[in-house]
Every structure is written in C-alpha cells, then in structure tokens.
C-alpha cells in the first residue's frame, strides 16, 4: 500500500514537473510570463489581482491584462472628461479634448482588437493594438508637456506601462 502511494506521489510529482508551460497554472506561469514584460512588478500585481489568473494559460493572462487595461483607461478617460467640464483655459481644453480622442481609440479599438485577435488566433494584431494603446497614452502625455498635470500624468503612465505589459504577453503567443 505504502509503495503504491509513493509511486502515485512520485508520478504526480513528475507530471507536475514536466507539464508544458502552455498548460501550466498558477503563480509560476504568471511569474514566467511577466518576466518577458518590461514591467515585472506591475504585471504580477495586475494579473494576481484577478481570481481568473490562477487557472489561466498565456492567452487567458493576455485577456485578463487587456481587461485590467480597459478598466485603467476608462478611469483615465473619466478623469479627463471631469477636468474638461471645469476647464477654462482654451489651450487646456484643446489638450484635454485630444486626450479624449486618444483614450477613445484605446477603449473602443485597441483593447477590443487585442482581445479579439488573441481569441481568434491572429495575435500580431493584438500586439499592434496594445502597442498603439501605449502610444496613445504617450500622445496624451505629450499634450501636457508645457502644462504639467500630475493627476493625468500618473494615469497616462499607468496606461502606457500596462499596455506595454499586455503587448509583451500577446507577443508570447506569436
């Protein structure tokens, strides 16, 4: 009896050791996946904050990342439209309006395309979408070069960095 249990345990241990990465689960996969992104800590924190991540494969992690990105971008857009309502300076208003356009592109196009591309099996469009999201956030930040606005800056950086993370994760699927 003891021998059978030992064998079973050994077998279990061996099969866990040799599980191919794409079927791996849990913290290990999150860590290895995040290692190929430019912002490891952000990546791990973000993915672990979603309960789905413990049983997701790389495609699943990409999807979770995209969902989190959408939430961040939506919050940033809310911030921007709020500021736009009370803004008086015409230059500031123009900059904010441009940012509304950039964030609309992220939320309406970049992220849905990324999710669809991963799901349907043509991930390079997902990489493109996520990279574009990072660029759009950068474009918004550039509009405030001469009028530093720390609240939007923090959001822009958060969206930019998470976009770069998502792009790297999707890149793994190529």
């Amino acid at each position: 009896m003891k021998n059978i249990i030992s064998l079973a345990l050994l077998h279990l241990a061996l099969s866990l050791t040799f599980l191919p990465v794409s079927h791996g689960r849990g913290a290990n996969l999150i860590e290895t996946t995040c290692q190929s992104t430019p912002f490891y800590n952000l990546c791990v924190r973000t993915l672990q904050s979603d309960p789905r991540s413990s049983s997701a494969d790389v495609s699943g992690l990409a999807h979770i990342g995209a969902d989190k990105l959408k939430a961040k971008a939506t919050a940033a857009l809310g911030q921007i439209t709020g500021l736009l309502k009370v803004a008086k300076d015409p230059k500031l208003k123009m900059a904010l309006r441009d940012c509304v356009d950039y964030y609309n592109a992220i939320i309406k196009y970049d992220i849905p395309v990324a999710i669809e591309a991963v799901a349907k099996g043509d991930p390079k469009f997902g990489v493109q979408g996520a990279n574009d999201a990072a660029n759009e956030a950068d474009a918004c930040e550039r509009r405030f070069k001469n009028q530093p606005n720390s609240r939007i800056s923090a959001s822009n950086k958060a969206v930019h960095d998470l976009s770069a993370v998502v792009a790297s994760i999707v890149q793994l699927l190529l």
Binding site: Y102, Y109, D110, G121, D122, K124, F125, L174
Partner: protein, 520 residues
Amino acid sequence: MFYKGWYHFFYQYNPNAAVWGDIVWGHAVSKDLIHWLHLPLAMVADQWYDKNGVWTGSATFLPDGNIVMLYTGSTEEAVQVQNLAYPADPSDPLLIHWVKYPGNPVLVPPPGINKKDFRDPTTAWLTSEGKWRITIGSKINKTGISLVYDTKDFINYEKLDGVLHAVPGTGMWECVDFFPVSKAQENGLDTSVNGPGVKHVVKVSLDDDRHDYYAIGTYHDKNGTWIPDQPGIDVGIGLRYDYGVYYAAKTFYDQNKNRRVLWGWIGESDSEAADMQKGWASVQSIPRTILFDNKTGTHLLQWPVEEIESLRLKINEFNGVRIQTGSVIPLDVGPATQLDVVAEFKIDKEALEKTTGSNETFSCSTSGGAAERGALGPFGLLVLADDSLSEQTPVYFYIAKGSDGNLKTFFCNDQSRSSAASDVNKQIYGSFVPVLKGENLSLRILVDHSIIESFAQGGRTVITSRVYPTKAIYGAARVFLFNNATDASVTATLKIWQMNSAFIRPYPNDEKFLKDLKQM
C-alpha cells in the same frame, strides 16, 4: 485573378471599423488594374467554420476554366480550417455570388499542428502525377514550415509526410506563396509550370516581424520539397519583397497578359486614433509584375504594372542636372503630391576611386538618415517636401566603400522628418541594393499623398513608405534633388509626370447598370 475580361481582387475587410476584426471578403473588379469598381462582399462569416473570420485564401483555375477557391476559416471555436468555395454562377463575369461547399471544412489542422497555426492555403499547381498540390504555412515551436497536400478534387486531401521547406527561428509562416519564374524569359509563368528553364520562389509573411520574405530555389516534384539556392539567405532570413510597410503579399498568374502580378497590403504608420477619425485604414500597393533577375541571379524584380502609365499627364524632363556636394535643387513640376518619377544618377567617378574606404558597416535603419553625410552619399530625391524643407521624405542612395575598395550601395527612405506630427512612424527603411558593373543608379518613385513606392535598379530593392505631412500637402508639396555627400558630386537625369487620379466607383444597386457592365 483574371476572369472573363475582368481583374478580380478579393481582400480582407472589416466592414465595422478601421481596425482589424470581423474579417470578411471584400471584392472589387477592374479592366486595367488601376480603375476599380467595388462589388458586394463576396463571402461573410455565416457558417460555423468561418464564424470567427473569413481569412486568406487562393483561387485555382481548373483546366476547363472554372475556379475553385480555398480559404481559411476561423471556426466558432477559433480553430483554423480550410474551406472550399466556388462561384455561384460561372457565367457571371463579375462573380458576385459565391457558394461554400456544404461539406466544409475540407482540411483541419493535422496531428502535431496547433489549431491556431494552420492558415492561408496557396493556389494549387499540378504535379507530374496529375494531382493538384497546395501548401499551407504553419510552425512547430519556432520553426516556420509549409505543409503540403495533394488532391484530385479539392475535397479529399492526402498530406505529404515532409514539408515543402522549414527554417528554424522564423516563427509562424503566414500567406505562403509558391510560384515558378522563368530564368531567361521576361514573362510570367502559370503556377503549374516546371522544367529546366524554371526556378521556384517560396515567399512567406512572417508573423513575428510583419515582413514579407522570399527566396529562390529548386522545386522537387517527386517528394514535394524545395531547396533554396542560397541557404544563407533562406526564406525568412534573407531578402524581402519590400523594406518598408508591405505585408501579406500574394501573386497571381495573369493569363491575359502572360505576367505574374504581385499584390501587397500597405498598412498605416499613424495611430489608431487617427485611423478612427479618418474612418478608414490600409491601402493596396499599385500591382507589380514579378520577374527573375537573371543579371544577379539572386533577386526578383518588381515593377509597377504598365497600366499605371495611363495615369500619366504632364511630363517634366531634367537632363544632366549636376548636384554639387551638400546641395538641394528644387524641381519645378507643379503640384507634387501625385507623381511618377523615373531617375538616373551618375556619381563622380574620380571621387569613387579616390575616397578611402573604411571598415564601418552601414545600415539604413541605424544610420542618421539623409542628414548623415558620408563621402559617397546620401543623394537622391526629397519628396512630399515643403518649400522650407521643414517636412521632407528623402528617397536616396548611399554608397559605402569598404577597406578593400569594394563599393556597396544602399537604398533608403528616411521618414524622420516626414511630418511635424508626433504620432507617426519616423523610422528609416532600406537595404543593400546590388549594382552591377556598368549600371547607373536608377530609381522609380510613385508618390501619392501619403504613400511612396520606390524602386531601385529596376525593382531589385523596393521600399514602400506611409508618411503623413501636415504642411507638404496638396499645392504646398514640392520635390527636390539633393546630394549630401562630402566627396562626390552627382549628375541626375529625370522624367517626372503629374499623375491623374484613378477614381474608384462604389457599388451601384442598379440592375441595369450591372447588366450593361457585364456586357462590356
């Protein structure tokens, strides 16, 4: 393809947004590859086996003149399968309606192949046993491969044991194209042609870097394999069709004019936000003929189809214009947003000989662009430039002299100052271009607002760029000659034509119109 008097173009289209998604088959027809008429969508995602996308496919002509179409569907579970379709009415020259074979899919991913790595079937060719053969790109880990299938009826297939070819490290092979080229003759060959005077080209679109690569080699019909002439520049690690923005290209044999014609997708280089506001994204290149370059033996030659010349209007000729080192010369051609430029450059021979060579390696993309001065380059043209040159896109040659005295010529497009806008691509594209003894440097450029297609040495090296000037537009756009070399003066001879616009007609929901059209 060319069918009953019309050139047909089927393309990947998203009817709902200016980004990738919801992919269906768009369709347009033309008599001359230049003036097009939009037709209704040829195929939409209305079956379980293409619910998630009606993706790339290819047409094959049967000996009786009928067409079969094989295409990739992404099923409702996102599995990539191959499906058969054919014209609903072969007597309709416009081929408006298509029927999907009820027994689809005809091919599913074979064992050992990932269900998301199996797409883009090629045009079929006849084997010596009289069967039809196709190839489909895929990958195993990071090795790009092309699977081979034989069929007699396009419904039942036998998979060959090996692959057409494989190259490690290249990743997924998309849009594989496989076709013969004549070694000596200047015409195209039907896809089934084989023989001693023929070489075969394998072309792949690499998912990993979004570039199209090709290699020339020998096809072995018996076992369905292909060997490159030069493994050092094998598929995916060697030559590219185009060193700019050009992807998912495909050729077809045009039996109307006995030529092989290449189509390429030119994406945008701006942001999605801009595309959203434009309401559209992506264009097709002007179709190009493809020939084997028997002078180098290693390259293909691409050239805009001759029909483009029908758009030529007023010509301006400039003969023997001497461009001193460090100078810019305006060319008075009138509006400079739609141009066809044919140019030849002679570089000062003495300077070529006298200049000391160096060990430094040059590459367009890592160079400082047209502003970085070398002894023997850069020199060429500035297109889509404004009067003050605050915006400009240089299309140019750069000659590098090695320490052994050998000359190496590079051909580049410099987008770094192409626009005052900050959300556009500003890279420098380009590559080495073979220049043989006795050849002058020659250039052809098609300028079209935001698209620049440039061809060096008769099409040995080609670069397509998308630029988005904010000032050098419409009446304010200019074209200049320039020579930023330090040691050599250059003499240029050019012909520049104003180009007419090629109006594209929308699909009219008019039965009489269509009836008249079909009788043309």
